[in-house]
Each structure stands twice: as C-alpha cells, then as structure tokens.
Amino acid sequence: MKVKVDKQKMQMAIIIGIITLLLVSSMFIQFKAVDKSQESNIESLRSDELTTQIATYKSRYEETMEQYEENQNTISEYKSTMDENKESTNLLDKELNDTETLLGLTDVQGEGLIITLKDTNEATYTASDLLTLINELKYAGAEAISINDNRVVNLTEITAINNSFIMMNSDSRISSPYTVKVIGDKSYLMSTLNLKNSGFVDLMRVNNLEITVEESKNVVINKYSKEITAKKMKEVE
C-alpha cells in the first residue's frame, strides 16, 4: 500500500516535472522570440506606434511623389525643348539641302529635254553657240543644265580653246557631240527652242549644224563636281 502510494506520488512528481519543463521551456522560447523581434522588427511595434510610422511614411511617400511629378514635368519640358531643337535642326537641314540643290551641288532629276548637238563637215559648234543655247534655256525656265555631264552652275564659264575643244568649268574640255541635259518645263523649253526662224534649232539648222531635241520625263543631271568657294567676297553687314 505504501509502496503503491509512493509510486503514485513518483508518477505525479514526474508528470509535474515534465509539465514544468514544457511550460518553462516554452516561456523561454517566447521570451527569446519577443526579445529578438523587439530588437529589429516592425512587426513587434504596437499598433499606435505603427500608426504613427505609417503616417510618417505616407507623408514621406506623398513628398516623394510630388518631387517625382515635378521631375517628370521637368523632363517633359526638356523633351519638348529637345523636339523643338530637332525641328529647327531639321528645318535648317532642309534649307541647306534646298540651297545646295539650287546651287547645283546635288544630283537632280525631273522632266526636261536632252539636246544633242553634232558638228558637221560644213560647220562646228562654237562656245558662243553653247552660251546662246544655255541662255535660251535659262530664259525658258531651265532649272538645271549640264553639257556632257558637266553641270552648269552660276560660275560656269564656257570659252573656246581651239577649233575642236571648248573649255568648261575651268578645266573640262568638251567636244562634239555635245549632249545638253536640261530640267525644266519641257513644253516651254521645247517651244522656246523651236521658235520659227529665230529659235535656236532653226538658227543652227540654217548654219548646217546637226541638232536633235528629245523630250524626256526623267532627266538625271549630276551634281557640280567641284567645290564652290569664296575667297574674296564677304557678305555686307
């Protein structure tokens, strides 16, 4: 009986010990967890602290957002300025291009005439004939002219070297047959050249020279091959 009671007591003591062990160990685990979370974590903060922190973050967020928007506006301003600059650059480019085209510094194409002049046994073309032709063409509204692929620009001179050669653009010798390409209104050019009696075609034929005029929808004229420089002249200010 006594032994049995002791056994029961023993059992109880052991169970109580185990329960104590469980309780104390879980308490210490919890202490450790709470300590650690208080050190670092936002999760451990009380709700009112959290609320103030959220408010702070919110205001900070709003500030940042404002700044972000400002920056965005500045960026878009810069962008629009850039676009404007680009536009003006494009405009300048276009102007330059147009000017070059007008000066004869670019290859051009368009409707016009191809005139072929050939010396015959009886007569030869002279430089003044070519000049007359070019003058007539210019008068008729020619926009671009070349003789044997030498572009006629505003500085082009045409002079005779001897009986068989004509000098053009300072150093290009040309000789018969001459192929003159013209871009311009072809019917206007045609009618100017073909004027009865006083037209260029008739004048040349009277002098026993060979001339053929061809219409073309697409005449290609190469650019002036040299540089145009101004050494002496300056713009008047």
Binding site: A13, I16, L22, L23, V24, I29, Q30, K32, V34
Partner: protein
C-alpha cells in the same frame, strides 16, 4: 519529491528554451496564448491541491486542452479578423487571479493561525 522535479524541470526548461532556435514572430503569438493557458492550469492545479480536490487527469487535460484550444481560437480569430485571443486572455488571467486569491487566502489563513496560536494560547 514534486518540488525536486519542478526544480529539475525548470532548469532543463531554461536550457532547452535557450537551445531551441528562435521561432518566427507569427508563431510566437500562439505560443504566448498557450503559455497563458498553461499558467492558468498550473495556478488552477495549485488552488485545487489546496482545496484538496486535486486530480492529475483534470490537471493534465486542462493543461494541454486549454492551451491547444486557446491556440485554435487565436487562429480562428486571426482568420475572422476578430481578436478572440483577447477574450481567452481575459478568461485565463481572470481565473489566474481567482486562483491566486484562493492560494493567497490559504496561506494568509495559515500564517495568521500560526500567529494566533502564539498570541492567544
């Protein structure tokens, strides 16, 4: 005998508590409520042993079942977004104070009886 096992259990528990790696914060909430429930059971056990109606089965079942149910209720409260664990804490802590009151009164009686012995007789 019981006191010895309590001391051994405490020492081993402290050691174990320090050896076990830190549990995540989300779990520590459940552990806390389980601890409160277990403490309530312990004080209830002490109080009942004072009243001489201590039953080991009731004590053990109260210890574990209360802790588990408290944890489950906490979980349910979290799912429902209602702080049910507050109700559990109020009940457990209230009972703890009740039992502590019983224990306190018992020992007060004991002490005053001892004093009274010496004074009146």
């Amino acid at each position: 005998m019981a006191i010895l096992t309590i001391i051994i259990g405490s020492v081993l528990g402290i050691l174990l508590g320090f050896l076990i790696p830190t549990i995540p914060y989300s779990v520590s909430k459940y552990l806390a409520i389980a601890i409160v429930a277990a403490l309530d059971s312990v004080f209830g056990g002490i109080a009942s042993s004072i009243k001489k109606n201590f039953d080991l089965k009731v004590f053990i079942s109260g210890f574990f079942v209360n802790a588990i149910i408290a944890m489950l209720l906490t979980y349910l409260g979290q799912r429902l977004n209602v702080d049910i664990y507050l109700a559990a804490i109020i009940v457990f802590v209230g009972r703890m104070f009740n039992n502590l009151g019983i224990i306190r009164r018992y020992y007060l009686d004991k002490i005053s009886k001892n004093f009274g012995k010496g004074k009146h007789k």
